[in-house]
């Protein structure tokens, strides 16, 4: 069947591919090694920072979500949200990876120690 691609179509596709390549580069640059803790945010406000090295279970937002840290990975094991999408997400361990629960406005973000801006609230 004829796809009938035109010159501008190809140009458009190339531009999108370039943007993809560029964002992959940025991601590799900001990602990478050194990720060793998770920041938990509710409604955009930081609730706590936990090391990925220590295995433990954390109750977020007075128990609406339960996060489990095990073997250097963080996983949402329980949530009272209707969609359960956060529970179905894979465990995260890489820098800037995140677990998101939209209904409860909960974000769990992996970060590296060098970004010490949150140190004040570390418990």
């Amino acid at each position: 069947m004829g796809i009938g691609l035109k010159k501008k179509d190809v140009l458009l596709a190339l531009i999108i591919l370039c943007v993809i390549g560029f964002t992959v580069l940025i991601r590799t640059y900001i990602g990478g090694a050194g990720a060793n803790r998770v920041v938990i945010k509710v409604n955009g406000a930081i609730q706590g920072v936990y090391s990925l090295a220590e295995d433990r279970e954390i109750e977020i937002n007075e128990g609406t979500n339960i996060l489990k840290i095990k073997n250097g990975e963080a996983d949402m094991v329980e949530a009272d949200c209707p969609d359960q999408l956060c529970v179905n997400q894979k465990p995260v361990s890489l820098d800037h990876e995140s677990l998101i629960c939209l209904p409860n406005r909960v974000v769990v973000e992996v970060e590296s120690k060098e970004e010490s801006e949150y140190d004040a609230v570390t418990n």
Partner: protein, 162 residues
């Protein structure tokens, strides 16, 4: 006039069917709620068959109806952002000229996902969703391509029926 209303009805029901099929395909892009946008096939086809205001109306009706039937409050916001941004970009490129149906659809698929990403960023107030940009763009491009080629074939046959 009669045929216009009929077109609208048929397109709306088709779009709803595609929205339903979409709920059966579990795709996980890492961001909860983000969908691949199968119903865009109907929107792309409609873009070449109906007046722009009608396509816009179709797009909104589709999102709101499917949101109430298959989704929730969040899926409506997501799809609305994705759908409107995608339609705006597609209408612009179609008017600009020089793009084939496939090219227009590729842009639509890509911006469909960008729209959803923007909403995710606003809702959870984090920029970490940027992490998923490459996957979302690539997926949008691929879906857009497949939809474009399909829409092209549909359009050929639609003209023949007339």
């Amino acid at each position: 006039m009669k045929s216009k209303v009929a077109y609208f009805g048929v397109f709306t029901s088709l779009a709803l069917i595609f929205s339903y099929v979409e709920t059966l395909i579990p795709v996980n892009f890492g961001i909860p709620g983000v969908k691949i946008g199968l119903a865009n096939l109907i929107i792309v086809t409609a873009l070449y068959k109906m007046r722009l205001p009608d396509v816009f109306l179709l797009s909104v009706v589709r999102v709101v109806l499917s949101g109430f039937i298959f989704g929730n409050y969040f899926s409506i916001i997501y799809s609305l952002a994705g759908g409107i941004l995608s339609l705006a970009v597609m209408a612009f490129l179609k008017r600009a000229g020089g793009f084939s149906v496939t090219g227009v659809s590729i842009a639509g698929g890509t911006f469909h996902n960008i729209g959803q990403l923007l909403v995710a960023m606003l809702v959870v107030e984090t920029f970490s969703v940027i992490y998923y940009v490459p996957v979302l763009l690539a997926a949008g491009m691929l879906t857009g391509f497949v939809i474009g080629v399909t829409a092209n074939e549909i359009l050929k046959r639609l003209t023949a029926v007339k």
